[in-house]
């Protein structure tokens, strides 16, 4: 007879899965925003996260700036960088009907970022090790890592702020309007370039926040970002393309799936199952697990 593991294991797995999945989620929120206005799958999002992580690590190693404190640098820099990336790289391509050009630019940006990181920081795998890296805290009687919990909180706060912006400010509402119908939005006097740039700015700022979470939780190398992009894509599909809260939820669900598969089936199966779920969702429920049907702009 198969023995069920004790309930504490389920709790531990759920917690680990949710904490890890929130990383995918915050990456997916960025993808969701950029996809929303530009209809572009920004494949470089993972590379941007790792770039931010490298930046955080460098700030810590060279200037002793605490990685969590560096949020106040990384997020504004991300906002500015996102704006510039749009204006410099995507503005012209965004005017084209054909999104393949934008997609290729994103891929080019990803490879460029990966290789520049290798030049500047080397290709080795390393994380940020602080005095509190190994410390744990207790939640519901379960011991968990302090940095992972912080990462989770950063993901929640980042997503929450984005949702507040989208729901409560007129500019945020304009971004949502443009995601739904860019032509109608332009008839309201909303500039497509402006909303695209805003989506990019927020997307890259979120990548910055995710970079802090990544840098403090596990060792990484310049090429770790692509997997992140893929996982974020899975999270996006799970949560429903076009829904910010759904993207975060999708990431957490993916984290849970991975944690359970890893424990009960085996570590080598986690990615296979994750991408299998991805395809299954796209085939049978393309609007996402709790999404509304996706409307083309």
């Amino acid at each position: 007879m198969f023995d069920l593991p004790p309930p504490a294991i389920f709790l531990q797995l759920s917690l680990n899965g949710a904490l890890g999945g929130a990383m995918y989620g915050v990456a997916a929120v960025g993808l969701s925003l950029i996809f929303g206005t530009m209809r572009l799958i920004f494949l470089a999002q993972g590379a941007m996260i790792i770039l931010a992580a490298c930046f955080v690590r460098a700030l810590f190693q060279s200037f002793g700036i605490d990685p969590f404190l560096s949020l106040v640098i990384v997020v504004p820099v991300g906002l500015a960088a996102g704006w510039l990336i749009y204006q410099g790289l995507f503005r012209k391509a965004a005017a084209e009907e054909d999104r393949n050009i934008s997609l290729l630019i994103a891929v080019g940006l990803m490879f460029l970022a990966e290789n520049l990181m290798t030049v500047v920081w080397g290709g080795n795998t390393a994380g940020v090790v602080t005095s509190y890296t190994a410390s744990g805290i207790h939640i519901l009687g379960i011991r968990t890592s302090f940095t992972r919990t912080m990462g989770f909180l950063i993901a929640l706060a980042g997503t929450g702020l984005v949702m507040l912006f989208l729901r409560k400010t007129l500019v945020g509402k304009a971004v949502r309007a443009a995601s739904e119908d860019m032509t109608a939005a332009s008839l309201m006097g909303i500039s497509p370039h402006r909303v695209n740039a805003i989506a990019f700015a927020i997307g890259i700022a979120l990548a910055g926040a995710a970079g802090v979470a990544v840098a403090t939780t596990f060792p990484f190398n310049p090429f770790a970002g692509f997997i992140f992009s893929l996982k974020a894509l899975v999270a996006l599909a799970l949560g429903g393309i076009g829904s910010v809260a759904g993207a975060l939820a999708g990431g957490i669900i993916l984290g849970l799936i991975e944690a359970y598969v890893q424990f009960f089936v085996g570590g080598s199966w986690t990615n296979a199952v994750a991408y299998g779920v991805f395809l299954a969702v796209l085939m049978f429920k393309p609007e996402g697990l709790f999404g509304r049907p996706y409307k083309k702009a």
Partner: protein, 241 residues
């Protein structure tokens, strides 16, 4: 001469090799309702889309209050004072009625008068106030059309463009729609209206143009066009005796 607000001269538009407009000239005086009527495929919608910058123009000029519009992006033209209610209404269906109205006043100038504009819109469309928190997509067809028009008035536009406002509505709602347009007219709004509901449109119009396969076939005051036997025969199903 009356105060010319919109002047379209020799407008030419083509989709690839297919020419949709062959040198069309129309004009709209401030404070009037102008109707453009014609059969399906005559180029009515294309002309409106060319005026608001949604389709590129091959030739001719468009000026609003003397300022040239050709070549400007739709958002720039909107900011100059044209509010276009497109075919299909262009509502943000996933957003609430209130959010749709707020976005109608997105332009900086309109944003400052948001509250007054909202009160004015609610006074004209009390139904929308009741439904403020509902998603636009959940409204009935008539309510959606009201919302689209109300949203367009939020920016206090110099020119309100309505593309087939009566399409898909029940006869009763169509009556409401036209009386609403008359109310807006009385409030001093300048309106350029495209309609297939030719008789109704010409009845409320100060001036009208008949568009036929990309060219202006006829023009005159609303009353003149209604009385014209050619138009009665061609568009209103009046039998020749």
């Amino acid at each position: 001469m009356a105060n010319r607000l919109l002047e379209v001269t020799d407008l030419e538009v083509a989709y690839g090799d297919v020419r949709a407009l062959w040198g069309v000239s129309i004009h709209v005086d401030a404070g009037t309702v102008v109707a453009i009527v014609g059969a399906n495929g005559a180029g009515k919608t294309t002309m409106l889309r060319a005026i608001s910058g949604l389709v590129p123009v091959q030739g001719g000029t468009v000026t609003l209050g003397g300022a040239p519009l050709a070549g400007l992006a739709p958002e720039a033209i909107a900011r100059l004072g044209i509010a276009h209610v497109p075919e299909g209404r262009g509502l943000f269906r996933q957003m609430t009625v209130l959010e749709n109205l707020e976005l109608g006043a997105f332009q900086p100038k309109a944003r400052r008068n948001m509250r007054q504009a909202l009160e004015k819109a609610y006074a004209l469309f009390p139904r929308l106030k009741e439904r403020a928190g509902q998603k636009a997509g959940s409204l009935s067809g008539g309510e959606q059309q009201m919302l689209a028009i109300a949203r367009a008035t939020m920016s206090d536009p110099k020119l309100l463009i309505l593309d087939e406002p009566s399409i898909g509505l029940s006869p009763l709602v169509v009556q409401q729609m036209f009386s609403l347009i008359e109310t807006l007219h009385k409030q001093g709004v300048t309106i350029l209206l495209v309609e297939q509901n030719i008789h109704q449109a010409l009845k409320i119009a100060d001036y009208g143009f008949v568009l036929k396969t990309g060219e202006i076939a006829m023009q005159g005051t609303g009353a003149e066009l209604i009385a014209d036997p050619e138009i009665q025969k061609a568009y209103m199903g009046v039998l020749e005796l």
